[in-house]
């Protein structure tokens, strides 16, 4: 029995419950505290779901904000409530790890527009009592950061010791440093850029069209109509996943190996291991992610162009910044190549910022920032250690 088409599991809808009632602490902002969006509208009421790890010290100086990437969420260092998988950055965060939860207080919020408890298109629109769907306003990276600043005000944290994140998380880091320089003691943007490239916008558009081509998408009304564009979203994920790896990594991992067979089947079944792997990536992704959220968050990345807010001159975004930066890129990352990181460093130098920049040799592509990379760990540990000394943090609070 061959299976040419992607077979997705029946609805589990774990993430649908998470959208309104997440298994995380939640802060609700009422009509008195609207989120002012770049689209020119206000979002109110809205909520932010977040996780914290470690202990905030007495003078509230040891908080690290971790910003998640496109399909990440707040469960950075705990078992995921929907997938039962370990936290997405368990490798680098935890007791004794480079982002040491015995020393730092780690906060990770779900971004606005996502689907794990912070208000997004899968959340219930209070006006209609139904999911927002495409009535949800288009959001930007700056909107995400503005919402995070409101969360920190609520938590009583004036200045962050560090803002860290990779990919879309790195975009938020850069936006934080530009929008609130006094609130960011140090910044750790990894595998990111100050603007999304044409190629990356193009990849995102393919993903969005895959979602929208699925008849189950129902013009974005699938939640109301009891449908779900799982095939479309899975295809979007499969395409995107290729961009997170590298040719060398795919070749090393899969080559042209067959999956559970010795000869080709002369069909469109997943003969090759790499096909089977990609299908698995697509199928598991739709279990935990909302298709409309995928549209909104990819759009937010596409719109990101930090220099555009500063007369097209990136250096102006960081002029006279007090923040210490550590910029990191990976040699085989072709989605956010080293040249993007160099542009950040160039602008920071022109603004006389204190900046470190390391390019790490790896064949693991863009996703390297999520993986066990000893050199990445040594650099993050060293950077935070020296910033901690400058900030006057004790070894253990």
């Amino acid at each position: 029995m061959v299976e040419a088409q992607l077979s997705v599991r029946p609805e589990s809808a774990g993430h649908m419950r998470e959208a309104d009632n997440p298994q995380s602490p939640v802060v609700r902002f009422g009509h008195d505290k609207p989120l002012r969006l770049d689209a020119g509208v206000e979002l109110a009421p809205f909520q932010i779901a977040y996780q914290t790890y470690g202990t905030l010290n007495a003078d509230r100086s040891n908080a690290i904000l971790v910003c998640h990437a496109l399909t990440g969420d707040q469960h950075v260092n705990n078992v995921h409530p929907v997938t039962d998988k370990p936290g997405w950055w368990d490798s680098i965060i935890g007791p004794g790890k480079p982002i040491d939860t015995e020393r730092y207080f780690v906060i990770c919020p779900n971004v606005v527009g996502a689907c794990m408890g912070t208000t997004g298109p899968a959340s219930t629109n209070p006006v209609t009592g139904k999911p927002w769907g495409l009535d949800f306003p288009v959001i930007t990276i700056r909107d995400m950061v503005r919402a995070q600043a409101m969360l920190l005000d609520h938590l009583g944290i004036e200045q962050l010791f560090c803002v860290a994140g990779g990919s879309m998380g790195g975009m938020q880091v850069l936006q934080w440093a530009a929008s609130y320089p006094e609130r960011v003691f140090s910044a750790l943007p990894i595998a990111t850029a100050t603007r999304h490239s044409a190629q990356n916008i193009a990849f995102h558009e393919v993903g969005r069209q895959a979602v929208m081509a699925d008849p189950e998408w129902r013009q974005g009304r699938y939640l109301v109509e009891g449908a779900n564009p799982r095939r479309g979203l899975a295809v979007a994920r499969m395409g995107a996943h290729i961009t997170y790896l590298s040719d060398a990594a795919l070749h090393r991992k899969f080559g042209r190996k067959f999956q559970d067979r010795t000869n080709p089947t002369f069909s469109f079944d997943a003969d090759f291991e790499v096909e089977s792997y990609l299908r698995h990536q697509g199928i598991t992704f739709v279990e935990r992610f909302d298709a409309n959220s995928y549209l909104y968050l990819t759009r937010a990345m596409d719109y990101f162009d930090l220099a555009a807010d500063y007369d097209g001159v990136l250096a102006k975004a960081f002029r006279g910044t007090p923040t210490r930066f550590c910029v990191i890129s990976f040699t085989s990352d072709w989605l956010f190549p080293t040249s993007d990181s160099r542009a950040i460093v160039h602008a920071l130098n022109a603004g006389s910022a204190r900046v470190s920049f390391a390019e790490i040799v790896t064949d693991k592509g863009h996703d390297a920032f999520l993986l066990e990379e000893p050199e990445l760990f040594a650099i993050v540990r060293g950077f935070l250690g020296s910033a901690g000394e400058a900030r006057g943090l004790k070894a253990k609070p």
Partner: protein
């Protein structure tokens, strides 16, 4: 003062070390830097000099060509980026630093004069140290062997060497003259890292100084 001659380090050559472990030329350079000032170390290697400067309260930044050197520095918490002295200094704004240091790197640049001019544009002062190709042992090797000298301090064969622009103390003085650069302080060191007599004439330094350190500024 007893001086040791340890193994080769990352930057280039065997260097004399003071009893505390610091390189003598690094101590000389750091003594020329005012406390609390802003410093850019061009070609900072594994960050040894930057670390020494930071311990003295200096706000130090570094540029290093080799990725290994950069990543080692960043892991030490130093503000270092990957870059090339020949091409990347132009990106820095004027007067961004109090001092720009070029420690044992001048001879490895493609355009030493442009590098020096850029250093004195982005910094109010420059500190340059380099191995003196006019040292008598080098002259003697060339005279007797008729081949490019290989010494403890300059261990690479001519075809392996990153050092493409060797100069003597005399050569360097002449370039400073032409480029409108003022020499504020000069020190020459013998092979054991001890400074030569201050009142010695320049030809004596050029013959017996194995390396030299200069504090430079722009002529008015």
């Amino acid at each position: 003062m007893m001086l040791l001659r340890p193994k080769r380090d990352l930057t280039m050559a065997e260097a004399a070390r003071a009893p505390g472990g610091a390189r003598v030329d690094h101590l000389l350079v750091s003594a020329m830097v005012e406390p609390k000032s802003r410093v850019l170390d061009v070609g900072c290697g594994d960050g040894e000099l930057l670390k020494l400067l930071e311990q003295r309260g200096v706000d130090g930044r570094g540029i290093e060509l080799s990725r290994e050197g950069v990543n080692e520095c960043v892991a030490k918490g130093l503000a270092v980026i990957q870059g090339d002295a020949d091409t990347d200094l132009v990106d820095y704004p004027d007067d961004a630093f109090d001092y720009v240091i070029l420690s044992q790197t001048l001879q490895a640049t493609r355009r030493p004069r442009e590098v020096l001019e850029n250093m004195l544009r982005i910094g109010r002062r420059a500190i340059v140290s380099f191995p003196n190709f006019g040292h008598w042992r080098i002259r003697l090797q060339l005279l007797l062997n008729g081949a490019m000298p290989v010494t403890d301090n300059l261990p690479d064969s001519w075809y392996d060497s990153p050092n493409i622009h060797f100069c003597t103390i005399k050569d360097f003085r002449e370039m400073c003259e032409v480029a409108g650069v003022k020499m504020e302080k000069s020190v020459a060191l013998n092979p054991w890292g001890a400074p030569l007599r201050l009142n010695a004439p320049w030809w004596f330094w050029n013959l017996f100084g194995e390396q030299a350190v200069f504090l430079l500024s722009r002529k008015r």
